[in-house]
């Protein structure tokens, strides 16, 4: 039994001493969310460009669906992926449940609509005259698209950063599909949940501070990127 001040003190000790367990958990969080973001971006940026730049029947519906999925509750995604990957499920033969891979899959699903919808938004915000200018200067369709994407780069970067912040902070999806196994699928958010439940506040508090710091850093970078992009309006 100890007081909160004692818990805070021990938390800082863990942080300052770069406790191995702490570092391991933080690195796993960054790895899982980072990889999820990479995949979500590789899939979402092109899709966002297609939704923003081309016209096809059903585009409006596709955009609405993407926007709706931005708000997917993480636990629901976790449930869905769990049912998919469990041994009794359709992809059970892969044996992926309760592994970092399952966590990456779940977080990719969470991040993908965010990246897609926000990239589309950034691309649509690029003034039409940019597209026209590229055309007049002899750009092919692909070159034109790349030019627009380059013009939208700050908005796109904001989209990626925002999605990263979202998945770093979530616990519902990765708790369900990861199983919170020590040293294997335990990340910052799931460890905080577990350790608080067990009454081990020093590790939970330490991770809480680190997570808040990372969130703060992410939001700070996001703000700077948005400021730079605002400074460009002619």
């Amino acid at each position: 039994m100890y007081s909160f001040t004692e818990g805070f003190r021990q938390a800082f000790v863990l942080i300052l001493h770069l406790d191995a367990q702490l570092i391991g958990i933080i690195l796993l969080s960054l790895k899982v969310s980072g990889l999820a973001l990479v995949i979500a971006t590789v899939l979402g940026l092109p899709l966002g460009a297609v939704l923003g730049l081309t016209r096809f029947p059903g585009r409006g519906l596709a955009v609405s669906i993407m926007n709706t999925f931005m708000g997917l509750p993480p636990v629901v995604v976790g449930l869905f992926v769990y049912l998919l990957l469990s041994r009794k499920g359709p992809l059970g033969f892969l044996g992926l449940l309760y592994s970092p891979t399952a966590m990456i899959i779940a977080q990719t699903i969470l991040a993908f609509p965010i990246v897609t919808a926000l990239c589309r938004s950034a691309i649509v915000s690029v003034d039409l005259i940019i597209r026209q200018a590229a055309q007049t200067l002899g750009a092919t369709r692909q070159q034109e698209t790349l030019t627009i994407i380059r013009e939208a780069r700050f908005g796109i970067l904001s989209a990626i950063i925002a999605a990263f912040g979202r998945v770093m902070a979530e616990v519902g999806a990765i708790l369900i599909v990861g199983g919170n196994i020590a040293g294997y699928t335990r990340v910052m958010t799931t460890t905080i949940a577990l350790e608080t439940d067990k009454g081990n506040f020093e590790l939970a508090l330490a991770l809480g501070f680190v997570l808040l710091s990372i969130s703060f850093a992410i939001n700070f970078v996001l703000l700077r990127v948005q400021q730079r992009s605002l400074g460009r309006t002619a």
């Binding site: 003034d127 940019i130 200018a133 007049t136 200067l137 002899g138 092919t140 780069r153 460009r232 002619a234």
Partner: protein, 216 residues
């Protein structure tokens, strides 16, 4: 390269904007197209520049005696400078280099051609400045430099001085004249400024009620 527009017709929202426009544009001349605001000058220009399709009639480009197909190769021999310049979010030189980079011009060639184009419009002292911070007159000149860098055989200019102050208007007009002299580019432009037309035009066309009339 010769350009022939023949019986061009264009309808917007069931209203005919261009009824029957025909013109054979003389090589290496400055042709100025005039008309009231909204009469369809820009539309006609865009159709000639292969950026828009006509509802009737043909636009024909020909080299010596063979007709050129309207493919990417042809489109890259001409260019249109829009009334509002779509400035890319990079440096002035980055903007001017754009047309060269997409054509795959060698990296060693590019700085030279960029410099020449900027010098032509008197912007070479602003090479590394962020293009979005230019004044409106400078931006217009940037648009022209961007077009010149690719050394087009035919240059279309849509209202090049519409949103520009008097001083820059003068500068741009002298740039246009210089183009004809030094680069022997065919220039086809629109304006609603009668005096400007008088100052620069070799040939003067007037667009009225969807038809072209030659004034000079």
């Amino acid at each position: 390269m010769k350009l022939l527009a023949s019986h061009i017709r264009k309808v917007y929202d069931e209203k005919p904007v261009l009824v029957d426009c025909s013109c054979e544009f003389a090589d290496r001349n400055i042709t100025v197209l005039m008309g009231r605001n909204g009469c369809g000058k820009s539309t006609f220009l865009r159709i000639c520049a292969l950026l828009e399709h006509a509802d009737g009639g043909t636009v024909t480009y020909a080299d010596a005696d063979s007709v050129l197909p309207p493919d990417l190769a042809l489109r890259r021999r001409i260019t249109l400078v829009l009334p509002r310049i779509g400035v890319f979010n990079t440096t002035v030189s980055g903007n001017v280099a754009y047309g060269l980079m997409i054509r795959g011009v060698s990296r060693r060639e590019i700085p030279r051609r960029v410099h020449n184009a900027l010098a032509f419009v008197a912007l070479e002292h602003k090479t590394e400045q962020r293009a979005l911070t230019l004044s409106s007159g400078e931006t217009q000149r940037l648009g022209i430099a961007r077009a010149l860098a690719i050394e087009p055989e035919i240059l279309f200019l849509d209202e090049p001085t519409a949103s520009v102050d008097e001083e820059n208007t003068g500068i741009i007009e002298s740039i246009i004249l210089k183009m004809k002299e030094e680069m022997r580019t065919t220039v086809i432009m629109t304006t609603h400024d009668r005096d400007q037309a008088e100052r620069v035009a070799d040939e003067l066309l007037y667009l009225k009620n969807g038809r072209l009339e030659a004034l000079r």
